[in-house]
């Protein structure tokens, strides 16, 4: 029995780790900016493309292979710094206070632009950059061979969750972000530069999306369309956890991953729909997600 359960458990956590990075970024942006960023998946795939391209360049240039590890993180940071402030200052800022429909249309337009931009810059063929995966080797758990890289990702996801929590609760910027989340108008009245907070939150969201993409590259192929697939799954996770809930994103990532893994093991025909069936079930019982709370409507 245990022999059967252990691989299920490891696979679920490995899946959850990858989903978590992108979902937590989406939910963080929503909690501060109150915008559902449809283009979030594109920033995930741009992070993946940049990391894969840098990784391949490191190998081709004959540099030490271990450099591909810091390259993953630096690629994500580069993507966030390049796209985060620019997108927030130009497109996103324009949508503050507008209706949800306008916000979705603007970010959807951005998604289409970024998808085409990727094709122009990185081409249309699949890219593979698996050096970090090869360097870390393998382990056998419950009779199944796993990549140590997959196991390391689980640890990294937990570290990001704790780090994010500490950042929001302990750092000055984090506390200011929490204040903006709690009440935007009061925060502004008390002298908090909310525009700056919005930019920081959006850039942090892009960083998490790009980090998810970068970390996925050693075990996946990067090809056009990656962003859209990831985005749909991230929406499901955000809806299950409750939009704007960091811990909710973590728990929902595990729930979605467990549903997906159970489907692959025991009902492969349901593999694609399993996460959305879970989402449907959760929303029927808790329309604001597991960790979300109903918003009071101001009149």
């Amino acid at each position: 029995m245990l022999q059967t359960l252990i691989p299920l458990f490891v696979d679920a956590l490995a899946n959850a780790a990858l989903i978590f990075f992108v979902a937590v970024g989406l939910t963080l942006v929503f909690s501060v900016l109150r915008i559902l960023n449809v283009a979030h998946g594109s920033l995930y795939s741009i992070g993946a493309y940049v990391a894969a391209s840098v990784g391949l360049w490191i190998v081709a240039a004959g540099l030490p292979a271990w450099l591909t590890f810091p390259a993953l993180v630096l690629s994500a940071a580069f993507t966030a710094l390049l796209f985060g402030p620019v997108i927030e200052r130009t497109l996103i800022r324009w949508t503050y206070g507008k209706s949800e429909a306008v916000q979705v249309l603007v970010t959807f337009g951005l998604f289409l632009i970024l998808e085409d931009l990727q094709r122009m810059v990185f081409g249309v063929q699949s890219i593979y950059a698996d050096t970090p995966m090869a360097l870390l080797g393998i382990s056998e758990i419950g009779g199944i061979v796993y990549l140590n890289y997959q196991l390391a990702l689980i640890g990294l996801a937990v570290a990001v969750l704790i780090g994010l929590r500490l950042f929001i609760r302990r750092s000055r910027t984090g506390k200011l972000l929490a204040a903006v989340v709690a009440d935007r108008e009061v925060s502004q009245a008390m002298g908090i530069d909310t525009n700056k907070m919005f930019m920081i939150a959006f850039t942090l969201g892009v960083l998490l999306a790009a980090l998810g993409g970068a970390m996925a590259t050693p075990t996946t192929g990067v090809a056009p369309g990656l962003g859209a697939d990831t985005m749909v799954l991230a929406f499901a996770v955000a809806a299950i956890g409750g939009l704007g809930q960091v811990e909710g994103a973590a728990v929902a990532s595990v729930i979605v991953a467990v549903a997906k893994v159970l489907a692959i093991y025991y009902a492969p025909a349901l593999d694609a729909v399993a996460p959305y069936l879970v989402m449907l079930a959760v929303l029927l019982v808790r329309p604001y997600g597991l960790f979300g709370a109903g918003a009071t409507r101001r009149i």
């Binding site: 063929q125 699949s126 997959q150 369309g225 697939d229």
Partner: protein, 429 residues
Amino acid sequence: MRKTSFMRPIAAAAALLAAGAAAAEDKPESLNLGVFTFMSGGPAAYGMPGRQGAEVMIDMINAEGGVAGVPVSATYVDEAQGAEGVISEYRRLSEDPAYGFMIAALSSGNCLALAPIADQLNMPTIGWNCDTHQLYLGNDYQFFYRPNGNTIAEFMAYALYFLDKNPDVSRVAIINPDYSFGHDAAEIVKATLKAVKPEVEIVAELFPKLGSSTFQTEISRLSAARPDVIFSNMWGGDLENFIRQAAPRGLFRTSVGVFALGESALQSVDVPEGSIVGVLGDGYWMSPDAQEIGLAAPFAEAYRAKFDADPVFPSVKMANAFLVMKAAYEKAIADNNVEWPSKEQLAAAMEGMSTTTMTGEMTFREDNDGVVDQLVGTVAKVDGKLVMTDMARYDGETMLPPLGEDPIAWIGSLTPEFLAAMPKPGSYE
């Protein structure tokens, strides 16, 4: 019923119009083709060699004076835009009088959609790659031909080969893409195993989404199932991804991989030696028949010069489609004694046509499906290159059900003696 007098002129006018429509045409300045394949996304790993094959063939045909003296040019359409876009592009090109012939498509789904439109628009079309056996089931197309054989022959050949190659096989797992091509292949492999070796157990059957970027959970599931053989008809980026992800996790140390479209990935990914691969037909440019016919070597040389790689079987399939098209034009011109055939004459010329391709003989059956042999082999490294060895060449006619018969029911009627009578691995060298 006796015709009334006023019907006669109408009938005569209709006959004249029909004759006019089928009449020969003036020789065009250029033979413009629409060539449909995947040029972006994961499937481009399979589709681009097809396009490159087309480019080389156009160069070669034009260097020899074109088709009946008319130079060939092509407009390439990316099938990655989805069926709606593909249909729209097909209609747009077909309704343009400048276009005379379509080579479409790679995807079985797109061929299923385009075949009735080819008949609507009277556009001679060759399905250069699509394999689904559903294409001609209950359908009678006049303008859509497929010089490939179909999924029945293709996937039966793999099942027969791996049973002969691994006589002790008892546990088989299947991982195919989640659309008709994947599900059809699974059904054919299972039906074949049930007919010729019923004791074989299917221990896992997985259908990940086409275009998935990761198969890590599926790999765990396959590892847990402990199969002797893992059959897959994944292709393009999916196939490359799967092998890249599964090999480091040791999946192929305990199970033999049977990759139906594996030859197309031999140059781009480290396919484990000992894996069973094939070419969905006979399109292996290094096969003994290809060497004997002598067309494949110059094609491969031109392909290498242009793209710095050996042609893989999608390139050869595309090249063979061009040879069939050229043969159809030559036959239509000869049959009708005209300078340039009409589209109707061209379609009629393909009925029952036989021709020698780069890699073997192709004959169109009554239903417009091409009969070609099936080539399967085992991956081995020779002179530093992964190639197919220990090959078997299965007769195309033997591997197809009689016309009008339900294909799966026909497979079910086979017996273990059918397997015993098949050519053995290594018999075609």
